[in-house]
């Protein structure tokens, strides 16, 4: 009997398709065996034909359910998490500002801290009266909110590579989530031309340009990417254009195919090397990277 311990059908009632599909998904074994023969021997199926029929039903159900579960790790959850992270950060900073004004006069804080670091110092104090109690409690809420922001960021860093593996690898998980959030979903990001991706998040500047009284923006949120920010200003337009082009390809792969592809990442690295090499060619080549 020990031979079939590792079999997916071990302990599965042949008349229970749900249990069979669950068994396929949870199955693990050190080595394969002649499962069809063993299934017949152990009475799971009358003959090999019946075994393959049951295997077919169980694997189709299991694969469908597993794919569905993986896709529930979807872009909408990522968008909520990103927006919540931004809200938590903005609100924590607002509270910290309010607190500086309040507790700065109320308590003698010797530490040279500002913003949320100041709140963290205040939160450690013991209140002497009812007013201090309120200020210190507020400080604690602001600090908690900062922790929530960090937890949300950690969640995004874990989840973005599952939702959009190529985009997350190329942009970094947080920027990937931001691009998805700005367009409302991975599908709509995948359908945007790369010129739009390039200026996502720079809508004010873009419309000022379209009204005719400003230059066109070179980049939107992708400015936070090292390939743009770390390139000297006169080449940033090229860098942003190249990055946006590959980001939209990555988003399309993620939405329409879903597997990880090496080629697009290598292409971007090659292109960036070429753009950055320009800085070394001019007479003032020594300024490369100085502008960070």
């Amino acid at each position: 009997m020990t031979e079939t311990d590792d079999a997916w059908f071990a302990g599965v009632d042949p008349g229970d398709p749900e249990a069979a599909a669950a068994a396929i998904r949870g199955s693990e074994a050190d080595e394969p065996r002649d499962w069809p023969a063993l299934a017949v021997e152990s009475g799971f199926a009358a003959d090999e034909g019946e075994y393959y029929d049951r295997l077919h039903e169980a694997t189709v159900d299991a694969a469908r359910e597993a794919a569905r579960a993986a896709e529930r790790a979807d872009d909408q959850q990522l968008i909520h998490a990103l927006r919540a992270m931004d809200d938590a950060e903005r609100t924590a900073n607002e509270l910290a500002e309010r607190l500086e004004e309040w507790a700065g006069a109320l308590l003698d804080v010797e530490e040279d801290a500002t913003g949320l670091d100041f709140a963290a110092v205040v939160a450690q104090r013991d209140p002497a009266d009812a007013t201090e109690e309120r200020a210190i409690s507020l400080a604690q809420r602001a600090v908690d909110l900062r922790e929530e922001r960090d937890d949300l960021r950690a969640f995004i860093e874990r989840r973005a590579p599952e939702v959009a593996p190529n985009l997350a690898e190329m942009a970094g998980p947080v920027l990937a989530a931001r691009l998805i959030s700005l367009t409302g979903g991975l599908e709509s990001l995948a359908k945007k031309p790369s010129g739009t991706v390039q200026v996502l998040g720079a809508e004010d500047a873009l419309f000022a340009h379209l009204r005719g009284h400003a230059p066109s923006p070179k980049h939107g949120v992708i400015f936070t990417h090292e390939f743009v920010r770390g390139t000297r200003p006169e080449d940033r337009g090229s860098a942003a254009r190249a990055l946006a082009g590959k980001l939209s390809i990555a988003a399309r792969i993620d939405h329409y195919a879903g597997d990880r592809r090496e080629g697009v990442h290598g292409d971007l690295r090659d292109r960036m090397e070429t753009i950055r090499a320009r800085a070394g060619e001019g007479a003032d080549g020594a300024t490369e990277g100085d502008d960070e």
Partner: protein, 210 residues
């Protein structure tokens, strides 16, 4: 030109000789006399057959297909082969693979990582006739070696190796040389050929388990 497996036949479509198999159409491929055209430009195994490589398949084999993606190629394999286990790691293509499998009782889709045979060794049977491999991850030869345990003593490996998955900047020939050497640990190489006419920087390999 070497023999095609039984179940794979040539038909003239729009003035061109094309490979075909018999089965339910799945991805909008053209059909002729109820047979589906097998597009060598979309399938590495199709390209290997089209280029006249001797796959030593005769039809009806039991198959483990690694890297099934949305099931384009594996649907044709299941049309001429016996029990066909299709392993794919990415969830989105598996959704399409499931649709392909539904009309093919001998096709068993598995959402699993081909680098970790433990995940499916309790489902996929031992003593298989053939592994077809088309995975686009680094370490393609190691994947083939690790999965050799599913093959019968003289089982076949039909692999399409993608140079760019191993190293985007290296010369494909250098990559292929490394792959040949690593594969040698578990397989005896029978035939290799570049698939460039249909798939750039790919090497088709026919090998037998040692």
């Amino acid at each position: 030109m070497s023999e095609l497996p039984a179940g794979v036949g040539r038909r003239t479509v729009a003035g061109e000789e094309r490979l075909t198999t018999e089965g339910e159409p799945v991805y909008g491929e053209p059909t002729v006399d109820g047979r589906r055209v097998w597009d060598a430009g979309r399938s590495k195994l199709g390209a290997m057959l089209e280029l006249g490589m001797d796959t030593r398949l005769s039809g009806g084999e039991s198959v483990l297909y690694l890297g099934a993606a949305s099931g384009t190629t594996v649907s044709h394999v299941a049309d001429f082969a016996g029990p066909t286990y299709a392993v794919e790691f990415a969830p989105r293509p598996v959704r399409d693979l499931v649709d392909v499998a539904e009309s093919r009782p001998n096709l068993f889709p598995l959402l699993a990582d081909a680098r970790k045979p433990r995940e499916y060794a309790g489902v996929v049977e031992s003593g298989l006739d053939c592994i077809v491999q088309d995975v686009a991850t680094r370490g393609q030869a190691a994947v083939a070696n690790r999965n050799a345990e599913f093959l019968a003593a003289d089982g076949l490996l039909l692999a399409a190796i993608k140079a760019r998955s191993e190293d985007v900047v290296a010369e494909p020939d250098a990559v292929f040389e490394d792959v040949r050497e690593t594969l040698g640990e578990a397989y005896e190489l029978l035939e290799t050929a570049r698939l460039d006419r249909y798939h750039e920087d790919h090497l088709g390999i026919v090998a037998r388990k040692r």
